[in-house]
């Protein structure tokens, strides 16, 4: 039933449905990308460097993997709201705000997973790079290459979180039709309207897209290894 609903939905060529799907992809991919760009080096760095207070930083990092999206959404909302410190940016209820909130949620998740992968094998890779004459930047590239399976998991986990998350994007985006309505907020709305079939159909579309995205990423991860 659900799968058929999903297909009907996709083939209906309904402009609104496509806009929602595209916005979902845009928001979740952009936030995953930006979060990953910051979180991968951070996780690697944490995995390699020793410094006083590292233990406590790690615990805080793990704790932030539990950040409730609703709270993140709320805090971001308060920052960018009219009266908030970043109110002048006027990004409330825009996709930019949704991306911002999701970055906050994904950053600790991706960092945490990469950190753990680096802890196991990173030192060895770094030393090899250095003995062969790699500079800092080249060592980082080498680490990303050698830890790619782990980094891949981190990105997939992050993307999975981004695309399925509803609490934060609902608050900062506002689920405004035609502007900030994404798949998850639509599902939540349909659910609250008792339109279960349609909600599940969109959920299946979301999973189909996740499947495609994962397959593409998986392809990259394989590389020439």
């Amino acid at each position: 039933m659900g799968l058929k609903g999903a297909l009907t939905l996709l083939t209906s060529l309904n402009r609104e449905v496509y806009d929602i799907i595209l916005l979902s992809l845009y928001v979740s991919l952009t936030s995953t990308l930006i979060a990953a760009l910051g979180a991968i080096p951070s996780g690697i760095w944490l995995g390699l460097k020793d410094f006083p207070g590292k233990k406590i930083i790690i615990r805080i990092l793990y704790t932030f993997m539990s950040l409730p999206p609703v709270v993140v959404g709320l805090v971001v909302f308060l920052f960018i709201s009219r009266k908030g410190p970043l109110g002048f940016l006027e990004i409330n209820f825009t996709p930019t705000a949704m991306i911002l909130a999701q970055i906050c949620i994904l950053f600790p998740i991706i960092t945490g997973i990469v950190f753990n992968g680096t802890k196991e094998r990173g030192e060895q890779v770094k030393l090899l790079g250095k003995t062969l004459g790699a500079n800092r930047w080249q060592v980082l590239i080498l680490l990303i290459h050698e830890l790619r399976v782990n980094i891949f998991t981190a990105i997939i986990t992050g993307y999975g979180r981004a695309v399925s998350e509803v609490g934060a994007v609902m608050i900062v985006g506002g689920n405004i039709k035609g502007h900030t309505r994404v798949m998850t907020t639509t599902i939540a709305m349909l659910q609250s309207m008792g339109q279960y079939d349609l909600a599940i159909a969109i959920g299946i579309v979301l999973l189909l897209l996740a499947f495609i995205i994962n397959s593409i990423l998986y392809h990259f991860q394989q590389g020439d290894s």
Partner: protein, 236 residues
């Protein structure tokens, strides 16, 4: 490149695993480091190569502390080699790519060294599937390919078969001769040390017990510990 060590020590917990007053290695020589397991040989060589930091002490290369130029010109083949998770060719090409060499030059250099070491047939094999000896050969090839001025080798032929050992030693001698590369090699194979090295350092319990020319250390050691150690090997 020559190497000087002053007052070097490494402490883990309450165990001092390395404690060296002074050690000078002359430019262009091949120096062997021998000694029992746990003597601190790998620790010493890793510290020299900058892969581990000493608890205390200094190292000078051509009179200067380690710097960008010297580190680019030296390398270390680890006792447990780490190969990149790619194919043999790419692994050996890696140091050349780091040095931004042209593609054709990389191709030529890698092919040459793989052929010299009888590894060409493995060029497309994934490094994760190599045999123990093949791993050691590839990691030596990767170290030699960019012609370092200073080469640290930690038991590079431990898993190599007798025939291939000669190929490996030939390659080491060649880079030493043609490129004036200073070579510091750890080995448990006294016969190999005798074949390869001009000078030999005998270590035990983190200290240098005796150092000197190959002939002194192998045929005429002064310390009882050295004598016993050398004797062990030569009984057949």
């Amino acid at each position: 490149m020559n190497v000087q060590i002053r007052n070097l020590s490494k402490v883990y917990g309450d165990r001092k695993v390395l404690d060296i007053d002074t050690l000078n290695i002359a430019q262009g020589t091949i120096v062997g480091i021998i000694g029992p397991n746990g003597a601190g040989k790998s620790t010493l060589i890793k510290i020299m190569a900058g892969s581990e930091s000493p608890t205390q002490g200094d190292i000078f290369f051509d009179g200067l502390p380690p710097n960008k130029v010297t580190t680019m010109d030296m390398t270390l083949v680890f006792q447990k080699p780490y190969l990149l998770s790619t194919r043999v060719f790419h692994d050996v090409a890696y140091p050349l790519r780091l040095r931004k060499m042209k593609k054709e030059i990389i191709q030529t250099k890698v092919q040459t060294i793989l052929e010299e070491m009888d590894l060409w047939f493995l060029r497309n094999q994934k490094t994760g599937t190599l045999s123990g000896g093949e791993i050691q050969k590839v990691s030596l090839a990767r170290a030699l390919v960019f012609q370092p001025k200073l080469l640290f080798l930690d038991e590079p032929t431990a898993n190599i078969d007798p025939t291939s050992i000669f190929v490996m030693e030939k390659m080491i001698k060649k880079i030493n001769k043609e490129n004036k590369t200073t070579v510091i090699i750890i080995t448990h194979n006294i016969v190999q040390a005798k074949r390869l090295c001009q000078d030999i350092v005998f270590m035990d319990q983190g200290r240098i017990v005796e150092k000197g020319s190959r002939d002194t250390i192998i045929n005429n050691p002064q310390e009882t510990a050295t004598k016993n150690f050398i004797k062990g090997e030569l009984i057949i």
